[in-house]
């Protein structure tokens, strides 16, 4: 039976997105990424000296990612503060999702810390976190091959869909969640997880949806970055006319 999405989206539709760069003043780079009701913040600190010393890499800096849900951001009971096995694993896969694009050869022996915090969640949190983190790293001025875009795809019932929300993940007829991250220019995959049972053909279809979705996310990300870095120029353009900088939000 074909699943019809309750929020009126087509199978290949993303939820509305919003991205903003430079939202945390203390950080070297930062961003907010919102997709549907999931809101992720990311901040980048460093390069700073890596402790303990034996963890230092003399060839290049180390990327370290930390994922956390605020205690009130879950969909049921309060989430116990502090690291969990889940949050640690997500930190690790986030790190691996971003590592292929970032060049830290200029910063041996150092660590670049990325902190991701979820303010509100409606599924797709690790993907939203990766989207925000990739913006924050670019905002910090690191050399990157490309941004990284992430979205989940999967099955609801028997229907391959893009960007599952919480009600879809919890669908009575069963659901499969496949969070993916990609280097949008090349389509190469940097995060791939799967939770559920799916056929090879269905997975292939879902992966195609994710690839399309990532291109749309990419546009929103690039727009948000440009908005931050061109806002100053627009504000005091040669004519002296001041126009408000673009908010960098766009609906997909």
């Amino acid at each position: 039976m074909t699943y019809i999405r309750t929020d009126g989206r087509k199978v290949n539709d993303l939820r509305p997105m919003e991205a903003k760069v430079g939202v945390i003043k203390n950080a070297r780079g930062s961003a907010m990424f919102k997709i549907g009701k999931t809101i992720a913040y990311a901040a980048v600190y460093g390069p700073r000296e890596m402790h303990p010393k034996f963890m230092q890499n003399v060839e290049r800096g180390t990327l370290r990612c930390n994922y956390n849900m605020m205690a009130f951001s879950g969909s049921g009971n309060r989430v116990r503060p502090g690291p969990s096995r889940r949050s640690k694993e997500i930190g690790l896969v986030t790190q691996n999702a971003l590592a292929p694009v970032i060049d830290l050869t200029e910063y041996p022996k150092t660590v670049v810390d990325v902190y991701i915090e979820l303010l509100q969640t409606d599924a797709g949190t690790r993907c939203a976190g990766i989207c925000a983190a990739s913006l924050a790293l670019a905002d910090a001025g690191f050399k990157m091959k490309d941004l990284v875009c992430a979205v989940s795809c999967g099955l609801v019932g028997d229907t391959p869909v893009l960007d599952l929300d919480y009600s879809e993940e919890a669908y009575e007829g069963g659901a499969v969640d496949v969070p993916m991250a990609m280097i949008p220019r090349t389509g190469e995959i940097t995060l791939m997880q799967l939770d559920g049972v799916i056929s090879r053909e269905q997975l292939q279809r879902a992966m195609e949806l994710a690839r399309e979705g990532c291109q749309k996310i990419y546009e929103v990300q690039k727009e948000a970055l440009r908005a931050k870095f061109s806002s100053m120029e627009v504000e005091a353009g040669e004519t002296g006319v001041s126009s408000p900088p673009s908010k960098g939000n766009r609906e997909a």
Binding site: G29, Y107, A140, G141, L225, E238
Partner: protein, 233 residues
């Protein structure tokens, strides 16, 4: 035939395809992937003949030999000072490089520069694995007493200095402040009153904000003149 996708001064982000075909060559901040020239960072495009370059708009300070920097002493040992110069790893200044004075064996080094003191120093050496040596030998290199420190993005330091130091001279003239600009984005200001220092600091922040604009000198001049007329807040 090669195709250029961007114009001079376009603001680009990592992954933007700047040019296609082999006619164009990537320079700083850009790289080649197959037949494409791609931006590696957030920046402004500069085109010079066949060369396509991205001037960064953000980034951390990376020390280079002979940089003049403003550092803060973070630790003192038996024969070295450790100095935070805004890089991840502290720079080391040996007794020999720290002072031209004769120092007795076992003397207390913190009597020269103590923890928390600011100094203007020169990066005398940087190794590949980023061991950084500092020296205080050279004209103008000294301990900084009083004043305040304003920190800006190190990439914007050349704009604060201006052509042949014109920008910083202008701020000095208007505010009467002594100003030392470190390549590491730390700027030391010392004026007769805190208000003079605030004004100089605000002017510097304005330069940082509008660093990639043309006509920057006029903007800063206008700002300083306006504030001078208004008088202190």
């Amino acid at each position: 035939m090669g195709k250029l996708n961007v114009e001079e001064k376009t603001i680009v982000v990592p992954g933007d395809v700047l040019a296609e075909g082999m006619d164009y060559l990537p320079a700083g901040g850009a790289f080649r992937e197959n037949d494409k020239v791609i931006s590696a960072q957030v920046g402004v495009v500069e085109i010079n003949g066949r060369l396509v370059k991205v001037m960064p708009l953000a980034g951390a300070y990376v020390p280079r030999k002979d940089d003049i920097v403003i550092g803060r002493v973070s630790d003192v040992s038996y024969s070295n000072w450790f100095v935070d110069i805004g890089y991840a790893i502290d720079a080391v200044m040996s007794l020999k490089e720290g002072t031209t004075e004769f120092v007795e064996r076992g003397a207390e080094l913190s009597e020269f520069y103590g923890i928390g003191d600011f100094v203007v120093a020169r990066v005398s050496n940087v190794t590949k694995s980023k061991m950084i040596d500092l020296s205080m030998k050279g004209p103008g290199l000294r301990k900084l007493i009083g004043g305040k420190i304003t920190t800006i993005c190190p990439i914007k330091v050349p704009r604060v200095i201006g052509k042949q130091g014109s920008m910083v001279s202008m701020i000095k003239d208007y505010t009467g402040c002594q100003i030392i600009v470190g390549q590491n984005g730390r700027i030391w200001l010392s004026g007769k009153t805190p208000e003079d220092e605030f004004l100089a600091s605000e002017a510097i922040k304005l330069i940082e904000e509008k660093a990639h604009m043309s006509g920057l000198t006029d903007i800063v001049k206008e700002f300083l003149e306006k504030r001078k007329k208004e008088g202190p807040k």
